[in-house]
């Protein structure tokens, strides 16, 4: 139970759908999103996630292109730590 959680959340970024509007960059409270240096298939830069996501869903709220799917990571359970990867 005392294992510290590396970060509270994470996101899946549908980068092929992103149109590079950059609205998510200032919307992110912990400031862990930044724009990529390469372009996606549509020709736009897309956001990339750095360590420190809290799973707050602010990026999901502001994104006009529905690019973010947000997950909140649960603290690891000692009894399930062996099998949690299967899930």
């Amino acid at each position: 139970m005392s294992n510290p959680v590396q970060s509270g959340g994470t996101v899946i970024i549908a980068q092929d759908r992103c149109k590079g509007c950059e609205l998510c960059i200032p919307a992110c409270p912990p400031r862990v999103l930044s724009m990529s240096t390469e372009k996606n298939a549509l020709g736009y830069y897309f956001p990339e996630l750095a360590e420190g996501c809290t799973g707050c869903t602010a990026c999901h709220l502001v994104c006009p292109d529905y690019v973010f799917e947000v997950y909140r990571l649960l603290p690891p359970q000692p009894s399930q730590s062996q099998t949690s990867a299967v899930q």
């Binding site: 959340g9 709220l61 502001v62 006009p64 649960l74």
Partner: protein
């Protein structure tokens, strides 16, 4: 380094999907930085949360607000320019148990169909109108509408709307709120996460007013149109709050349930 997940991580709970369950596809043809998809998602989420899926009918006007009608799992009708409130009146009178809402841009509601929405509001039809107000005719190139505010840049007036040349904008929410048959009027904005949460609260209240049959309800949602405003996509929310947001203000203009 990009540490974003590519598959759902183990031992986690999903806090939000990409879009909502009522969106059949998340791909859409709207411009980068557009505020309409955000407002649309908010409305669809409220329909789900109030269990109105399957007993709601949406009437769409013409313009960018109707770009996504092909991918929504909601009963829809595409109405003539500005005539959505009139069509919604007919639907609601025939199917009074349904949640009937219209979705219109400001060009559609204020410029093309001002008479329809005012008469519908005055008749106290038990419908909810959503106005996605970005101050431009986005679909036809970004020219000025009757709702463009003073100083706001559009494709046809790059130095901003001037009162001596173009006159003054029509404050539709204020007009509608002054009518007796109107139950709920509010103005929200999708400029940031807090604004979107507020917009969702207003949308939910508007539907609750309709289901309690207290009268006409209107929620005006300010949306970004960086293409029409000739601004950078990332500057869209700030420019919107400098122009539309500052001159019109956000909040509830009328709430008959709270007053009574």
């Amino acid at each position: 380094m990009n540490v974003a997940a590519t598959v759902p991580p183990p031992n986690s709970v999903k806090r939000s999907p990409f879009g909502t369950k009522l969106l059949l596809s998340e791909d859409h043809p709207l411009c980068p930085g557009c505020g309409h998809p955000v407002a649309l998602r908010v409305i669809l989420e409220v329909l789900e949360e109030l269990s109105l899926v399957g007993r709601s009918v949406g009437i769409f006007g013409h313009g960018c607000s109707a770009m996504m009608i092909g991918q929504m799992d909601v009963d829809l009708n595409l109405s003539l320019h500005g005539r959505a409130p009139a069509t919604a009146t007919g639907v609601k009178r025939m199917l009074p148990d349904r949640a009937v809402f219209t979705m219109q841009g400001d060009g559609d509601m204020v410029s093309e169909g001002l008479a329809e929405v005012l008469h519908t509001a005055a008749r106290s039809e038990k419908i909810t109108c959503f106005l996605l107000n970005n101050g431009v005719f986005g679909d036809t190139g970004g020219h000025m509408t009757a709702a463009s505010v003073i100083g706001q840049r559009t494709k046809t007036d790059l130095t901003g709307r001037k009162a001596e040349e173009h006159g003054y904008p029509i404050p539709i929410s204020k007009l509608v709120a002054s009518l007796d048959g109107v139950s709920y009027v509010a103005r929200a904005s999708v400029h940031n996460a807090a604004g979107i949460t507020q917009a969702k609260r207003f949308v939910r209240k508007a539907f609750e007013h309709q289901m309690q049959r207290t009268g006409f309800s209107l929620v005006e949602i300010l949306t970004m149109c960086p293409t029409g405003w000739v601004s950078k996509t990332a500057d869209g929310p700030a420019y919107m709050m400098e122009t539309l947001g500052q001159q019109m203000g956000l909040g509830e203009l009328k709430d008959s349930l709270a007053a009574g």
